[in-house]
Each structure stands twice: as structure tokens, then as C-alpha cells.
Subunit: 233 residues, 2 copies
Amino acid sequence: MQSIDKVPGILEKKEEFLRFTDVSPAVIRRLPRYHRYLGDLLRAGKMRISSKELAAMMGVTASQIRQDLNCFGGFGQQGYGYNIKYLHGKIGELLGTNEGYRAVIIGSGNLGRALAATHTFDRRGVTRVAMFDTNQSIIGTEIYGIPVYHVDSLGAFCIENRIDIAVLTVPKEAAKSVADVLVRAGVKGIWNFANMELKVEDESVVVENIHLGDSLMTLCYEVKNRSAVSADE
Amino acid sequence: MQSIDKVPGILEKKEEFLRFTDVSPAVIRRLPRYHRYLGDLLRAGKMRISSKELAAMMGVTASQIRQDLNCFGGFGQQGYGYNIKYLHGKIGELLGTNEGYRAVIIGSGNLGRALAATHTFDRRGVTRVAMFDTNQSIIGTEIYGIPVYHVDSLGAFCIENRIDIAVLTVPKEAAKSVADVLVRAGVKGIWNFANMELKVEDESVVVENIHLGDSLMTLCYEVKNRSAVSADE
DNA sequence: TAGATTGTTAATCGATTAACAATC
DNA sequence: TAGATTGTTAATCGATTAACAATC
């Protein structure tokens, strides 16, 4: 009798639902960069690449690339290297580009508008469904094609529209109370630009805090201590 | 006869010019966060704090805080802890907030405008002197009090006005050629938002590449693999 | 002084790199 | 097949944590 995990159909199903909980954050934070480089290679019409070539392009070691990828499975082929299209697709899948995530932006100040205008979301398979603000003069209008609603309707809207991700560009005083609404409305991830470290009680909700100021300060430090090497690649 | 490095005046002078070239990037990237927390404590009117207390607030170990700070000198006092005002000032100094750095913003699209509107720069002692664009309809105007000039005058302006830092918010196609102008004009640091990894030939010029898309993708990954812990603090 | 907490060394842990057998 | 390059184990390196003597 055949073992159940030898049946290809079942195996595929299993892989589709596989969760990676034990991969180190260092590896995860490198995945988007691999994805970017592979996307560039793909657009350049290249078919395949070895870890050695990619490593030279990216300024890392070939060992690191192979180790990182093998946290998720064997995506390459001995003697050949990696198929660029396949690998790009696989990493995209790992990063959730096929999940069809739906996002809202809260706050329509300069940063909110800038994020409404970018292709940052679409490129990663994330749809911006709506924006929210308290400024009556823009409620009911559209910003770069995204409708703006009053923040009072945020909770109900997120539930109704099964929103996965919220982008917070509100003043830091408002951040916590808005976040509480979002968590109660079942949002799973918060991308926080509110210049404070947001903590939410529900541990299943992921928060990614952005501190551009920290980045600027690091740059200033490097300029002051003028090192001979570039600060970040 | 007294040894030269026992003379306090000389010692101070030396320290003022001290450069830290051997401190690990991991430590450096934590400094702005310490600075933020100490700033909050300072504004809250607190006088002193122990590594243990601060560690609890920040979600790190007390050991790490003491190790990190001791890369730069003994800022605390046994049995007492750290004087918040003094430590905040010292870390600020390390990060270059007293250097009076002067910056320009290149590109006055949504992101450029958002950066023109923030207090991110002033808070860190960086002055925004001018913005540059190619759009004739805004050249000669001011954006949030910052004058806008044509990009053709960028190089000469940076030399004349001794610009230290340039903020790049131009389309990625333009980034490299603008960067070349900046490097030739003696700019020491480039804060790059152009969605590509900028590399400059002059190794003394520091580049800090910002990839917001990478951050969004990391968030999506965490949402997909819904971990029980927050992605970033 | 006694208690507290730093500065610093030593131990542990994790991440990166090197090496090589497996294999395409 | 021979050559190339992966997947993976073992060795190295660096960063974090623990411990404690110094000292305020």
C-alpha cells in the first residue's frame, strides 16, 4: 500500500499550505532583495543563473544564497544553476504576492498621498481598496483613483471588505486608537509610518514599524565617521 | 614630566575628533533607537535610568545596552545608572546631530514633497537648503518654505553651499547621473529613495538605500506565515 | 558602609562561510 | 562521460547574553 505522502496530489496540496515558522528573520529580510534582482534579470531576458553569478551581482557570497534558498526547498539544479523565472516565482510565492492581499491607507497627508501614487503595492500583488481621513474637504473624493472615506467607517469597512493590511500614516497621537480599531476589524498586518513603535495586544497581528528618521541618522553617523565602504547595499 | 595625553585640554580635543571605524553595523543601527527612547524619557521629565529599566522598555537585554554604549565610552555611573540628558546628548553627538549638516532634496514628486513637509530633518540637526526638479512650472516657487531650482544648477549649488547630504527622490532612470553630479560636487552622503541600489565610484561617499517595497514584502511574508510575534520593534 | 549598577571579560548562541559529496 | 553547480554538513566567525569584579 502506498504511503499517503507519496501521492503527488496530496504532496502538492501540502506544500501549498506549508508555513515557515522557523526561518531566521535575517534570511527573510533578504528574500525581497533576491526577488528584486531576479525580477531585473527576468526583464533583461536572462534564463538561468548560478549562485556564484548572482552573488557577484549582489555583493554577497554564493554560499549565503544557497543556504538561504534551501530554507524553503531545493529550487536549483546541480550543474545548471537556477531557472530565473521559476525562482522568481517561487520567492514571490513565499513572500505572498499571490495571496491577493487587500490594503487600506489611513491618513491622506503627504506620505499617504505618496503611497497612494506609487506602484509599490500593485507590483507585490497588494490592492489598495480605500483611504481614510478626518478632513471633510477630501472625504468622498478620490486620490490617485483610491476613494477616501471618513475614519469613523474604518472598522466596518475593514470587516465588510476583508482587509488584510493597513498602512498607518496618521499623527502618532492617533496611531494607537486607529490600530485598536484595525485589530478588532480583523486586519492581519499593519505597516506603521506613525513615528512611534506600535504595539498591539493581539499577537497574531504583525506590525512593521518604519522609522525613516533612524535611517537618516545612520547615514549622518556614517558621513561623520566617513568610512571607506558604502553603508548599505 | 607630565605625559601629553594626561593634559585634560588635549584629551578633550582628541575625543572631539575621535572617529569610530571599528564598531559593528548592528550596533550603529541600534543607536537611533536608543536616541529616540532617551528623547521620550527626557521629554517625560525623567532624570536617570538603569540599563535594566531601559531594556525592559525597549524589549532588549540590559547586557546589550551596556555593551553597545561601551563601544563609544563609559557614559554611565556604577550604582546609579545613566543620566538621561547626558546620554541622549552623547548619542546625538555620535550620530552627528551637532554637525550642522546641510541637505538638498532632488525630485519634488509626492515623496519629495512629503520629505519637505516632515520635521525628520530639523529634529536631527539637518537643514534642508533647497529642492531641485526639471518641472518648469514649479521652479522658482517654494515647497514648505524650501526654494525649488532647476536640476541643471545642482552641481554648482552643492559646491557653493557646501552641501553634505542629498536626498534622491527621482525616477530610477535618472538616479545614477544625478548621483554622479552630487559626488563630483563633494556631497558626502546620499539618502536614496529611487527604487534601485545606487553604487558610487567614490568610496568615501556613503549611500543609504531605502527600499520601502522590501519592507512591505516582509510584512506580507509575516502575515502569510502568521507568526505569534511582532515582526519588528 | 551596604546596595546598586556599571564596565568588561568569558560563555553561549546564531549566522556566515568554506568544503565537498551528490547529481544533473 | 566530464564539467559544473547544487544541497548540505562542518568549520569559522561574529554577535548576544551571562556573570562578576570594580566602583559609585
